[in-house]
Amino acid sequence: MLLCTCTMRGLRRAAGEASAASGGIYLKGEMKLLVAVKRVVDANVKVRVKADRTGVETANVKMAMNPFDEIAVEEAVRLKEKGVVTEIIAVSAGPAPVQETIRTALAMGADRGIQIDTDAELQPLAVAKLLKAVADKEQPKLIILGKQAIDDDSNATGQMLAALLGWPQGTFASKLAIQGEEALVTREVDGGLETERLTLPAVVTTDLRLNEPRYASLPNIMKAKKKPIDKLTPAELGVDVTPRLTVLKVEEPAKRQAGVKVKSVAELVDKLHNEARVI
């Protein structure tokens, strides 16, 4: 039986009946959810390009959980509060400070954390492979990620993770409902909204309107300190994280010059018509 190959730590379930669902083996009544969180430069920080043009300045800069990942954690917690999900595992990859980001997810309501401990530069493909390896171990039925990280703006990891797992994807979600073995995902697309029905297990990426993330309460922040965070390495997960893209340089874009203040609508229309010639 496939179950005996499980080597997961922190397993709280009693051995029970196994039910085969499409794409994986689940214990009846159990639904694990994996949520991926990234530590990024805070959205309110005006980033500065480093003088040597190798990247942007991240030393002594306020860091925070990627805002789209906060939405992912919130959605996971709401699914648990509704009784749909039984356990939430928050995963992040990077050196020790990413534990803070995992703690934030734990304070919001995730049950335990996994830190993929590495100092290596991680690009989206490598992160997708790491998360795939964690998903293979944990067998979640749903993985929620932010649609994009506000640092590299790639908008790719969720789609790649779904591909590697061979699961369907519901990207840019503004609404999510779990109905039995299916997820009903409403997606924010360029023309409006689109709804898809996905067979679980599936990957969902969050858009801004999915929910409004909660602030962790002080008691929950205290409780989160006692929640376990397991450590794994890319080598333990059997993943080669070597970057495929080489960043040759990072530069500041051309600055836009501030223009003039006009005093009246008449002056504005005159400028637009006769000076800028755009109307």
């Binding site: 794409g23 430069v41 005006k46 390009v49 942007v56 493909l125 649609k147 506000i150 640092d151 703006d153 790639s154 908008n155 790719a156 990891t157 789609q159 790649m160 779904a162 591909a163 699961w167 369907p168 994807q169 519901g170 990207t171 840019f172 009903l184 924010e188 697309v189 360029d190 023309g191 409006g192 909204l193 689109e194 709804t195 898809e196 029905r197 996905l198 067979t199 801004l208 309107r209 970057p243 495929r244 893209l245 080489t246 960043v247 340089k249 990072v250 500041e252 874009p253 836009r256 003039v260 203040k261 006009v262 005093k263 609508v265 504005l268 229309v269 637009l272 800028a276 755009v278 109307i279």
Partner: protein, 314 residues
């Protein structure tokens, strides 16, 4: 080797962003093949075949590709990609949904939303909401790329006569199904290709007040956009959103009304040719990027502007 461009289309015609993607494909170099995947989309393939500079149109017209779900379309790209040096798609919700999925299946690092082609393996892409530009080089054999439309001209020169080759479809997906869509209907131009955009923010105070901007837009032949704050507040639907994680626009004229100018919003519109800001707060950051700023109450200024435009256009 040839370059494959994944077309975004509505069945009958190519969407504007596809034309910008073609320009990026030309900058890469090599023969260009255009893939039109969908259901009942022969019209779009025929329209594409008439464009100058396309060597071949691949038509995958099948139930499996209806609504361009990521799972089947990515599988189709995986099948075709080995014959190409590059696969390009517009960096729209369509392209962003499909390209990374195909890339992972090919074990390739996708290059998201490029704004310039330096050489066939080196590209520029904005990061940190456009506050930095990264030049990246790909070591992968096939490059999978999404293209920021506003960074490339639209290529729509007629005069082509490319052959249309049918591509066999695989079975329809079983794990993802299209349920329905609520698409915004508008007589106005599409945001990402409009020459003029009138955009509203939190300062509009309600969805009802956006009628003031619609009236302006109709006089200017403009599209109507919004800041995230206006969308979050429910004044207008999500597809109006201009910004880092919404739509990236670069019209000839962008009129920002009641928008303070958060960096995330500026990321979506700061490449506009001329920017006008109307805001009651003279310290609002939007004025730092505006060519013409008008400080005052938008509920007085906008109707006045409306009347002035009526006179000008009348």
């Amino acid at each position: 080797m040839a370059v494959l461009v994944l077309a975004e289309h509505d069945g009958k015609a190519l969407k504007p962003a596809t034309l910008n993607t073609l320009a990026a494909a030309h900058a890469v170099g090599g023969e260009i093949h255009l893939l039109v995947a969908g259901k009942d989309c022969a019209g779009a393939a025929e329209a594409a075949a008439k464009l100058d500079g396309i060597a071949k149109v691949l038509l995958a017209d099948d139930d499996a590709y209806d609504h361009a779900l990521a799972e089947p379309v990515a599988a189709l790209i995986v099948k075709l990609a080995p014959q190409y040096s590059h696969v390009l798609a517009p960096a729209t919700t369509f392209g962003k949904n499909i390209i990374p999925r195909a890339a992972a299946l090919l074990d390739v690092a996708p290059i998201s939303e490029i704004s310039a082609v330096v050489s066939p393996d080196t590209f520029v892409r904005p990061i940190y909401a456009g506050n930095a530009l990264a030049t990246v080089q790909s070591k992968d054999k096939i490059k999978l790329i999404t293209v920021r439309g506003t960074a490339f001209p639209a290529e729509a020169k007629p005069g082509g006569n490319a052959p249309i080759e049918r591509v066999a479809a695989d079975a329809a997906p079983t794990t993802s199904r299209f349920v329905g869509a609520e698409l915004s209907k508008s007589e106005r131009p599409e945001l990402t290709s409009a020459k003029i955009i009138v955009s509203g923010g939190r300062g509009m105070q309600s969805g009802e007040n956006f009628k003031l901007l619609e009236s302006l837009a109709d006089k200017l032949g403009a599209a109507v956009g919004a800041s995230r704050a206006a969308v979050d507040a429910g004044f207008v639907p999500n597809d109006y959103q201009v910004g880092q994680t919404g739509k990236i626009v670069a019209p000839e004229l962008y009129i920002a009304v009641g928008i303070s100018g958060a960096i995330q919003h500026l990321a979506g519109m700061k490449d506009s040719k001329v920017i006008v800001a109307i805001n009651k707060d003279e310290e609002a950051p939007i004025f730092q990027v505006a060519d013409y700023g008008l400080v005052g109450d938008l509920f007085k200024i906008v109707p006045e502007l409306d009347a002035a435009l009526a006179k000008l256009k009348g």
